[in-house]
């Protein structure tokens, strides 16, 4: 078992579906951070069998919880202070997401006007359906 040093202060994104950590790393823009970020792939998990974990040294403001909730609202967000978990945040599906995904409808206005924000609205929480704010095309994950 590989050992990664514990965090004294920061955030641990736990219970990431195995293999999804790099996608989350990119979508959250973690590559742009100056602080220490550790990605653990395929860690053993009693609940999931295998999981990914991301550890970020720094405050919660470094992570867009809406983006994370959209990607996978089952991820656990642990806030670490003085080496201990002080808070566990649960994620929910955001009502609106901006510039995380792009509309794939070739007839959508965003296909020709590149400066427009790509905005998706949660239209059905039970079925986790997001639709483009402009053309209402359903986003297929």
């Amino acid at each position: 078992m590989l050992n990664i040093g514990g965090l004294n202060e920061g955030i641990v994104l736990d219970h990431i579906e195995a293999g999804k950590s790099m996608m989350i790393y990119n979508n959250l823009g973690l590559d742009k951070l100056d602080c220490c970020v550790a990605i653990i792939k395929n860690a053993r998990s009693n609940k999931m069998g295998k999981k990914d974990i991301i550890k970020i040294e720094g405050g919660l403001d470094l992570v867009d919880l809406d983006v994370l909730g959209f990607i996978d609202h089952n991820i656990t967000v642990n806030i670490i202070k003085d080496g201990k978990i002080v808070e566990k945040k649960s994620l929910s599906l955001p009502k609106k997401i901006t510039n995380v995904i792009k509309c794939k409808n070739p007839r959508c206005i965003t296909s020709i006007e590149q400066e427009l924000d790509n905005i998706f609205i949660l239209t059905d929480e039970d079925k986790q359906v997001y639709r483009c704010m402009y053309c209402e095309e359903k986003y297929n994950r």
Partner: protein, 307 residues
């Protein structure tokens, strides 16, 4: 700022008010002929549409207002690469209200977000065409006296036909409306209409392939054109366009008080021999389209209570 981007932007109560006003206009159009004196409607048509544009222009002229605009993207600043957002900001300085048709879906939504004047969606690609829906609702209400308790057959291109989708969305809000969806399998309604709109709201509907089989059940038959521009493949268009043609033998199967509607223009899906049948209501529908657009312009300009 009020806009009309989708037929569902109006609540049932607001729709009732609008249709009541349209009915009053239909009864005495002259009474409304100076309501918009000094006001201007901008018609921003990024793709050709003679009928809808002229209907809007006629509506504004009937109200005493005037119109300005363009009728294709080539003759607008869009040809120079101007964005919809910039165009609407400029047009907001020239007119009091605008109607926009655009081939890209959601363009009027973009315009509304930046506009200083009310924006009416006059059709955006295969997405929405709310004023056609208002026209359809007014026609049904005028012919039947109510928007409750009837069976409507929607026939033809139900896959790409935005008028059909908008009409279904609107009619499910009324009591006891049954839908019979008549189309070839290739052109049936999209899944989201079937699942998220009809089934999710427990609406009574059935899907059939033959128009003849259901004619006797219908109170309203809504015919649609198989639109060439919605196909990427000419062969598919040619193969399907003649599937559902309404002619005299089919009309003989219908109720005596059934009405035929069509958003127009038709190609050959309604035989001209039907035109003189008293049940053919599609030209009347075009007239109602002007009245309902007059009512809409008055409502969005806040002038609906002044007459």
């Amino acid at each position: 700022m009020k806009h009309l981007l989708s037929p569902l932007d109006l609540s049932v109560a607001e729709l009732d008010d609008l249709l009541n006003l349209a009915q009053r206009i239909a009864a005495d159009p002259k009474k409304f002929s100076h309501c918009c004196d000094g006001k201007k409607l901008a018609t921003l048509f990024y793709e050709p549409s003679t009928r809808t544009r002229l209907s809007f222009e006629a509506a504004m002229l009937n109200l005493g207002g005037s119109v300005l605009g363009f009728s294709s993207a080539d003759s607008s600043s869009a040809a120079k690469g101007e964005s919809v957002s910039d165009t609407i900001r400029v047009i907001s300085c020239y007119a009091e209200i605008c109607a926009m048709r655009h081939p890209k879906e959601g363009a009027p939504t973009v315009a509304a977000s930046k506009s200083g004047i009310p924006v009416i969606n006059a059709g955006d690609g295969g997405h929405q065409h709310p004023t056609q829906t208002l026209t359809d609702l007014m026609t049904i209400r005028e012919l039947r006296g109510s928007l409750d308790n009837f069976t409507i057959g929607l026939c033809g291109d139900l896959k790409f036909g935005r008028t059909v989708h908008s009409l279904i969305h609107s009619l499910i809000r009324y009591k006891n409306v049954k839908f019979i969806l008549i189309s070839p399998k290739e052109l049936c309604v999209p899944d989201y209409i079937r699942e998220d709109v009809l089934k999710a709201n427990n609406i009574d509907f059935e899907e059939v392939e033959r128009l003849e089989d259901v004619m006797p059940q219908l109170d309203i038959l809504y015919m649609t054109r198989v639109q060439k521009e919605r196909f990427f493949n000419e062969d598919d268009y040619l193969r399907m366009k003649n599937f559902y043609i309404l002619d005299k033998p089919k009309m003989e199967l219908a109720k005596k008080d059934m009405y035929v509607l069509h958003p127009l223009p038709r190609v050959n899906e309604i035989s001209v021999e039907i035109d003189d049948d008293p049940r053919a209501a599609y030209f009347k529908q075009a007239q109602y389209g002007v009245y309902v657009r007059m009512a809409l312009i008055l409502t969005l300009l806040g002038l609906d209570k002044t007459v």
